[in-house]
């Protein structure tokens, strides 16, 4: 961890502004723009209102969970949607746990941590971990809040624009826009899978879903995750043991 700088901490509004600036300068700002453009378009095609779309970003702030919600709410049972959403968001627990010790300063109250925790999504977390350690502790929460709000802003604007585009573009271009999200999720997952476990889990998920869906058991996404994820994990364990 980088040493804390030797300077007096900035006031909260100034630190928040620094955070916003860091968000606009981050490459992830532009990745989020692209990603939420596609999600906004999907929300339109699945029949949601633009207000609902924006609200889902403000409240859920997790692209995978939103993608599940948007693509399954119309056709799956509520319990199935909730299970898939919650499985996709379990990752927040270890992320938040890893982040908390870095944000806490003397006199930080639990409720001061509610906003930064809500703003935590993969993008904010990755940038936050990197940038927060270079700042004096008392200004970290405000900085992180600025960073999170800046990145969330990108998502909100892009989802509204994508929604509008899906409504107005000719069918061929609308189809291309709708295809962006599955393509981007596939490529980014492939690029980010540093371990065999990640890559295998994704590949097996692609392969298992059609089989599970064809069986018409219900809860198809949950079963896909549990079956494919567990097989990938088992392979990982066997490899670790025999190495």
């Amino acid at each position: 961890m980088a040493a804390e700088p030797e300077r007096p901490p900035k006031t909260a509004p100034r630190a928040l502004l620094d955070g916003l600036r860091a968000a606009f300068g981050s490459v992830l700002f532009y990745v989020l723009l692209g990603n939420y453009l596609g999600i906004g378009a999907l929300a339109h095609e699945f029949g949601f209102s633009v207000v609902w779309m924006v609200l889902s970003t403000l409240l859920i702030w997790a692209a995978p969970a939103q993608l599940i919600l948007i693509s399954t709410l119309g056709t799956s049972t509520l319990i199935e949607v909730a299970l898939a959403v919650t499985l996709s968001s379990v990752r927040f627990l270890p992320m938040v746990a890893a982040l908390l010790p870095m944000l806490r300063a003397e006199g930080t109250r639990q409720r001061d941590l509610l906003l930064p925790m809500h703003l935590t999504a993969i993008s904010v977390w990755v940038e936050g971990l990197r940038l927060v350690s270079t700042r004096p502790r008392p200004e970290r929460v405000a900085f992180y809040n600025g960073l999170g709000m800046g990145l969330m802003f990108a998502a909100v604007v892009a989802s509204a624009v994508g929604y509008h585009l899906a409504a107005t573009l000719p069918p061929l271009l609308a189809a291309a826009l709708l295809f962006f999200t599955p393509l981007a999720v596939l490529m980014v997952s492939a690029r980010n899978s540093r371990t065999l476990l990640d890559a295998l889990a994704f590949a097996l998920g692609l392969a298992v879903w059609p089989a599970v869906a064809a069986m018409k058991l219900g809860l198809e996404l949950m079963w896909t995750g549990l079956i494919a994820g567990s097989i990938a994990y088992a392979v990982h364990r066997v490899r670790e043991a025999t190495r």
């Binding site: 095609e45 609200l55 709410l73 890893a98 189809a175 295809f179 998920g205 949950m222």
Partner: protein, 108 residues
């Protein structure tokens, strides 16, 4: 169910609860614990399932593109990703180009 109520009950709450739990029982959780690795694998596979679902049972305008074109575009995009220095940008671009070309050739 009202879509806004559904957003809160089966979207916001089941997702947000993990952030709250992170605050409550966060201390002392090892990021490389076996349970964390398994959970990550399950979540990754689930998202792959969502990708498969959107490609096979697509919404709106995307449904106008034949299934074979959608599958070839996804696979072709991935091959391009592998060939062109594992660039996500190149993969997305190639996939989109294949989708549009296929749709024009075989009816959108």
């Amino acid at each position: 169910m009202d879509p806004y109520l559904a957003l809160i009950l089966v979207g916001f709450l089941p997702s947000e609860v993990w952030r709250w739990l992170g605050i409550v029982l966060g201390r002392g959780l090892d990021e490389n614990a076996e349970i964390v690795l398994w959970v990550r694998a399950v979540a990754t596979a689930l998202i792959a399932g969502v990708v498969a679902r959107i490609v096979v049972i697509p919404p709106g305008a995307l449904a106008g593109v034949p299934l074979s074109v959608r599958l070839v575009a996804l696979g072709g995009g991935f091959v391009a990703f592998l060939l062109i220095r594992r660039s996500a940008f190149a993969g997305v671009l190639a996939g989109e180009a294949l989708l549009i070309a296929g749709a024009l050739a075989f009816g959108a």
